[in-house]
Amino acid sequence: MKRPAETESSSCESEETGLPFFHSWKSVYIFVLGSFVFWVALLVALTKYFS
């Protein structure tokens, strides 16, 4: 059975993200972790302030 040719290169981290502001994957991951920290901080503040 035929399978399509493999197309991905191993140097995937250097691939362009195609996003404005976030040109490298590292910056995308940092943004994701930053948003996680933001939400945890918000939830901690909600817990502390209103309890």
């Binding site: 059975m1 035929k2 399978r3 399509p4 493999e6 197309t7 991905e8 191993s10 995937c12 981290e13 691939e15 362009e16 993200t17 195609g18 996003l19 994957w25 995308v28 991951y29 943004f31 994701v32 972790l33 948003s35 996680f36 939400w39 945890v40 939830l43 901690v44 909600l46 817990t47 302030y49 209103f50 309890s51």
Partner: protein
Amino acid sequence: MSALDFVVLIGSMLGIAGYGIWRTRGRRSLETYLHGDRKTPWFAIGLSVMATQASAITFLSTPGQGYLGGLSFVQIYFGVPVALIIIAIFFLPIFRRLNVYTAYEFLGKRFDSKTRLLGAALFLLQRGLGAGLTIYAPAIVLTTVFGWPLNLTIICSGLLVIIYTVSGGSDAVTVTQKYQLGIIFAGMVTAFCLVVAKLPTGLTVTDTFALAGGFQKLNAVNFSTSIHERYTFWSGLLGGTFLMLSYFGTDQSQVQRYLSGASLREGRLGLMFNAVCKIPMQFSILLLGVLIFVFYQFEQPPLLFNPVSHQYLEQHNDSGQLQALESDFQKTHTQTREQIESWLAARHHGDETGAQTAFAAAAAAQQQGEAIRAKAEKALAANSGTTANDADYVFVTFILQQLPHGVIGLLVAAFFAAALSSKAAELNALGSSTTIDFYRHIIRRDATDTKCVAASRWFTALWGLVAIGFALCAHLAENLIQAVNILGSIFYGVMLGLFVVAFFVRRVGGTAVFWAALVAQALIFVLYFNLTISYLWYPLIGCAACVVFSLLLQMVLGGGGETDKMEAA
């Protein structure tokens, strides 16, 4: 439900399913049937991953959890961002490079056939067992509230999802999930706006939060290090990371979603979309439950939200106990409401002492109300031997009693859309894994593409019928939902362990990891029956045990393990 509600419900369900069948007609090759046409953009992948994870119970039960337990359940999702980043960096590039149809095919390339079959069997076992619940769980709640025939609801919704999943394969799942998620979001946003609109005038945003916080409903983060507490920051971040890593990285129902992307970039961005959106989404759904709690401080709530439980107590109420409980519950609610109104007035006049006194009285009255509710649940358990499962019924009861016609239809459509979208992805994955990992790998090695597509359709339909059959029998076991959830967390850890060894421990070969996985699985069973820790920890323990046992066994077996077959593949 009115005629308008039924038009909204049936129109949206049949319309989306029909569109899915029409858009994906003529899917003939195995590649397009299992992976779509590999043109799916990142946004569609992101929505598809989200819709696969969010079942109907997510939208039915989570507001109830917010109502009863506050925001603490959100901590279970703290592991999502880290887990999805790990998958985007390590798992996805290798899956795509090897161009696998299933995640377990990768285990075969890295180790050997028996390890691949073990991974696939673990998946089929746990996902197959859980398959019926995705249909059964929302059906039991909705039929209880609306009085529909349960079996007919299960069969109709089950057959609908089988028809479009079998017809269009992976692409049909992705195409329909986009619109199903649209219905879900439209319904939830409408419900959120209407709950806010129904809060008393004069209650500001800070009043609402102060009221909810005063009743401990905004305790979102708990830094306790006790492993016996189910939802804490640490169990969410550590245990949750492993649970989510197992689910998103090794469960074929998710892997198949992000492998359908046009490129590695699309798959990665789809995962990152979920990494960013999951926590705020779950927070919003829980907050909806908290707002319903605030609403019911000003409106009389039912003693029990589950109408069947209430009816049962009515029928077995020889001593007039139910009337006494209801009367007491009403009195305590009136006291609570009056004290909250005093608290609000004092708060708005800057009378801090008066506000504190009034709130303390409101909290005491509210606790009395909760004690009466607990008594009713205890009476139910003593009479019937079952629990009220009230959390599942809070939101749907609120919808039915408080929201206008049309919106009721939209929200019931949202619940069914959620059930169908996750069910379709599950069936698609079960059919794919059975075809690729068993049929083509063992039974018919020389099967052509056409035969594999035909087999995949049959297996998908078969798993769909198994799911319907299982859902029809599900009422025989009261604690089935909990049992299957726990079953999932018991198996996920070892499955993740297989993949972690495959990716990161190159010296370990197939024989060592195969036996290590079996021993680790046995250990998890022993621990489960002897410990009382939160189930969130089992994926971490199972994964760690599999990795450690693999290394030890490889040392005993000697040699540097097998060569990395992936390199040779």
